[in-house]
């Protein structure tokens, strides 16, 4: 029988630390080691404590104040940066994210419920390794701003997810602290996957597309079974110029399906190609099944959603007056 939150609150209510910088937070974690846990919104922690999945720690390191930036969501010459401690509610209602990162906006809208999103943070969603924002961030080539033993550094989200998964498998969890998430936007691009057809039409006959899907077990406030994001471009001949695919959901750590991205760039999107992409998703995506949804169902759902998005976009690119 695990202890639960009531007992822990009084008998060993954690000390709560409020460091004002990543370096201070990091140092606290070094000092207390396994007795300390970083907390941003704390929603996942509270759930784990209540269910007895995790013990309340002796020390809670509140990382909600470590950035000290004026604007938690900001645009700069190389892209957009969102502080890790930004609440999902702030992401959901942010006009800049809605305009420039529509897939992320859509993903955040479908995470938990509005009240939970007031507390929960984007950084927490990313750090959980299975957050539903991850597929959107992956297709945006997000980079993580981390603080570790060697100071601050940047890492590709997709690399970080893979490395962290490996570290977990070898029971050597990395203890780097997430400070922020940056979406690179190379100079000249107006946004990450272009949704302004009028402008696009002037410069090329290419249709850019992007979509985020979450499939759960009910219509709202549900754990995901599949969370997938896709962006790319298709020319007016129906040729897929490029695409980026990311899939996750449930307890599966999301990943980019780069092998498929590379294999199909330059392919004409007719039915046979779509069938090969479909088969490719089944082949390369390896989700974890559970009592509620099998791995096979998760695969076929991801494959269905991805090829349908491509099929729709190809039809629009060819006939949609682009």
């Amino acid at each position: 029988m695990g202890t639960n939150a009531h007992e822990q609150e009084t008998i060993q209510s954690p000390l709560v630390w409020h460091p004002q910088s990543a370096a201070d937070a990091w140092q606290l974690k070094q000092n207390f080691g396994a007795d300390a846990v970083y907390a941003a919104g704390g929603t996942l922690l509270r759930t784990q404590w209540e269910s007895g999945l995790a013990k309340m720690p002796a020390h809670l390191i509140d990382v909600s104040r470590i950035n000290g930036q004026e604007e938690p969501i900001r645009e700069h010459e190389s892209g957009m940066t969102i502080d890790a401690a930004t609440s999902l509610a702030a992401c959901r209602s942010d006009a800049l994210i809605a305009r420039k990162l529509p897939l992320l906006a859509e993903a955040v809208k479908q995470i938990a419920a509005p009240s939970v999103r007031q507390l929960a943070t984007l950084g927490g969603n990313v750090s959980s390794l299975v957050g539903d924002s991850l597929p959107a961030l992956l297709v945006y080539d997000a980079q993580l701003h981390l603080f570790g033993g060697a100071g601050e550094h940047w890492e590709e989200l997709s690399d970080w997810l893979a490395a962290t998964e490996q570290a977990l498998l070898s029971s050597q969890p990395a203890s780097r602290l997430l400070i922020g998430i940056t979406i690179p936007m190379p100079e000249g691009t107006t946004d990450s996957h272009a949704v302004a057809p009028a402008q696009e039409e002037l410069v090329s006959k290419t249709k850019r597309f992007g979509a985020y899907y979450k499939v759960g077990r009910r219509e709202a406030f549900t754990p995901s079974v599949v969370a997938a994001a896709v962006v790319g471009s298709i020319n007016s001949s129906g040729v897929l110029e490029h695409m980026k695919l990311a899939v996750g959901g449930g307890q599966t750590i999301p990943r980019r399906l780069k092998e498929l991205e590379a294999a199909f760039a330059g392919s004409e999107l007719h039915a046979a190609t779509l069938q090969r992409i479909y088969d490719g998703v089944l082949d390369v995506y390896e989700p974890r099944g559970d009592l509620f949804a099998s791995a096979d169902y998760r695969k076929s759902t991801a494959a269905n959603l991805i090829v349908t998005e491509l099929w729709k976009s190809a039809a629009e690119a060819v006939t949609g007056g682009w």
């Binding site: 000390l15 630390w17 409020h18 704390g42 509270r46 419920a113 009240s115 007031q118 709202a220």
Partner: protein, 166 residues
Amino acid sequence: MGDKAADASTAYKLSCTLNGKETEMETAPARKLLSILRDDLELTGTKRSCEIGRCGACMVLIDGKAVNSCLTMAYQCEGKSIDTVEGVSAGGIDPIQQAFLEEGGFQCGYCTPGMIISVKALLDGNPEPNDDEIAEALSGNICRCTGYGGIWRAVRLAAERRRQPS
């Protein structure tokens, strides 16, 4: 290390505004707001049900936004303005509550205080919500009795009345 970092302690004094009154109380910094409200302050309009943020029965307004008090820890309330259903009802029956009464937006009533809080947060921020916005705003409030029929009617009526105050 910053000065504030050294403030950590289990004996903690929370300062916040509760139902319009500036309040200070000794509590543990990680204590659930739900426990503070129900057990320490006997404000039992805020209900206990799932305690993991999945049902909305414990919803309160924090700086005007609906938040699950079972997920909120004392230190996260520091300096904030918290309103419970008791605060919302302090001036008598609120127009949202009136709409719930008229349309039968409740049965057992146990989810109702949390539901009222979420509707208030919705309409205060968006006086003319469409059905998608209503569904999103209330998706964290489970009602097991009504099948939401009366709740849909009540929210639409409350929004309508805000547009056309009679």
